[in-house]
Symmetry: C2
Amino acid sequence: MTPDEFRAAGSELIEWIAQYMETVEDHRIVPDVKPGEIIAGLPATAPEAPEPFSSIVGDLNDIIMPGVTHWQSPGWFAYFPANTSGPGILGDLVSSGLGQQGMLWATSPAATELEMVVVDWLVDLLGLPPAWRTTGPGGGVIQMSASDATHTALVVARHAKRAGIPSGDMVAYTSSQAHSSIEKGANVAGYGHVRLIAVDDDYAMSPAGLESALVADRAAGLTPAFVGSAVGTTGTTAVDPVRRIGEIARREGIWHHVDAAYAGTAMICEEFRHHQDGLEIVDSYTFNPHKWMFTNFDCNVFYVADREPLIDAMSITPPYLRNRASDSGDVIDYRDWHVPLGRRFRALKLWFVLRSYGAEGIRHHVREHVRLARLLESRVGADDRLEMVAPTPFALVSFRHRSGNDATLALAEAINRSGHSYVTPSQIDDVSFIRVSIGQTSTAERHVEQLWDLIATEARS
Amino acid sequence: MTPDEFRAAGSELIEWIAQYMETVEDHRIVPDVKPGEIIAGLPATAPEAPEPFSSIVGDLNDIIMPGVTHWQSPGWFAYFPANTSGPGILGDLVSSGLGQQGMLWATSPAATELEMVVVDWLVDLLGLPPAWRTTGPGGGVIQMSASDATHTALVVARHAKRAGIPSGDMVAYTSSQAHSSIEKGANVAGYGHVRLIAVDDDYAMSPAGLESALVADRAAGLTPAFVGSAVGTTGTTAVDPVRRIGEIARREGIWHHVDAAYAGTAMICEEFRHHQDGLEIVDSYTFNPHKWMFTNFDCNVFYVADREPLIDAMSITPPYLRNRASDSGDVIDYRDWHVPLGRRFRALKLWFVLRSYGAEGIRHHVREHVRLARLLESRVGADDRLEMVAPTPFALVSFRHRSGNDATLALAEAINRSGHSYVTPSQIDDVSFIRVSIGQTSTAERHVEQLWDLIATEARS
């Protein structure tokens, strides 16, 4: 493809995306396809000869699009959002075009230093501990997903405890409401044991439960190594008592990691920061700009309070070969901050988003989503057929039908059958409920009203 | 950013990238910046108010671009390439615009099934074992990097051996010339021991050396669990004896992973496939379309001969909760094929590339790069001042100055000072040499001739 062919095809696809933005609301959110249907539309072997770009775009429209789930629809209330935005898409485009590989400072000074700048900006924007700036003992790094960040934290915690202790004797703790990535990451990192600590009535981890488990495991000769707490669980956005868990972790000498994958973005508004009280005594923290900060997937930020144990675990360069520039903090070689070696210039899209929206723009959207969530919560509260199952600290509304699980699941199915609104049915213990996550880039009041009309109609009494 | 603003900004950036393609050759490949210089040009805090797109593009040009290392220059002969191409960039653009999150088949049937299709296409294109198709017992998955793939293989191998054996007693084997990702992955996965097996005169792993190490480790009560061989090492593109290592691995019951990160692409040409003889008895394999297949970073493909142990290690869903569709192979939930949960629609860019180039287009470029490498090799061979240090099975030319290390390093520095050509000085044991990797998307004969003129001038006798 010559530069001129790229100009033509690129302009066509920019227009294609703009039209997608304008019409995404018209699509049924979940495609009506059966397993194998998209495969059946595609040839079994790659083409031998080059094909014209028009054929590719034709098949994109005719074969791929019918199998797309419309995460970008304003009626997307499922899971948590995975938002795109114009600036995010365009920052990613420039990253693709420049083709930087930022494994070392030297292989792309721009990619390395812009990443240092944006992760430092976020420390201020989100009210995180100043020691996490790259100018301090800590620092942040962009990874692909919160699962990667959590796995990294688990490996660092294991590595820091390693002297003579088999990883099979190590224990990781988190709440029964924690994201599955903690249990998976612990398995991948070789921990022998994962304890899912009981939660209170608001689904927040019980510090007393954690202490009991620690006592029992120490008595059994095991080695507690890691505790993961959540600021905003996946199930109900419950907030664990970060400070109390942090105090226990400090006393016990175990690594404390905080998963704020979804709710981290909300901290750009000061009124939510009481939920992250105690961060100055945690060891690592992660949140996903690709969820609620309008920066398209993949973009996760992982912070450590002290970068030395991270680099010790992730660098294969022995200390006597490290260069002075790296150790002084003048130069960061981000390959030593995570598992992969190669790395894309992901900071660009975050930079584009932060500048295009400005802090006030992001605050505006977050507050609007939270306002809409409280509006929906008030509607639920005023309807005798329905009841909330958890508080709404952010923009996730968790409710159920008072008639029980069958009625709740039937309601979720009715909503999802509508095509214009999509929610996630969920369950804690034996109680089914409906999660309505309000946070898609373009969700406005009319979309929440449309959802509520549907709920009010379909919730049989 | 409204759709119309996106149209305007998007068109501007498509033109910006087209111009970058047209002018990349005019840039000095390595930027003349000192640590901290880019940071110093940027504000210490994020903007409070939204900024116009023109300001962002202005700063991109004035602050970011002076710190960019031009991996996309046709004079890029360093490391291995990290190629972009028009179709790759545009496939990635569509992925950004659609914002799919393909963790499950259900969260994006299109992303899941197109991925199955392109990894199956590659099985045929590269002459890989048919059992690796997703219709067989194996299958492929797109990950971020070969480091991620290798780490995954190490975890699966450890998991398969786990019954009562501490990971600290497990041993991973690879050659002294293997990529650092094997040693790093083994550390991250908690292996207690990594053995770097000696190589022969062509830098290929010695099977006898591997057997001796296995005997010694078994005698010491350790558990061999993993061996990684390379088809194309990073140092000199040496090819390990895959079949012989595979036979040893089968006999010993250890996992055999093949790293063809760079050279895998060459297998699209039948004349190189003798280098991968024995793949039908390996357990896993990885190569990077983002190196030599014109698909921009990040795009790694990881194959397993049998997907069951992979899913056993990576799924946190216990067997009794698996759904029949997943186990039958009708539906793949790719979250269970790697560490992360969320995943981008990376198959799109690979699909765009394979269709735009066609198999014959990729073959043409690979063969041209290999031809140019052999041309350069012949020039080196005819110059009394220089000598080759390793064979040239693919498109990496490894040579040195006969006067010794100082003269070799001085020559490398002279090349890199030119600004128009960039090579990697390297070292094996005590011998310094120069790696010339020919494979950038737009590298043509004139660029290699320009490099050779520089070498001939600067190689002081």
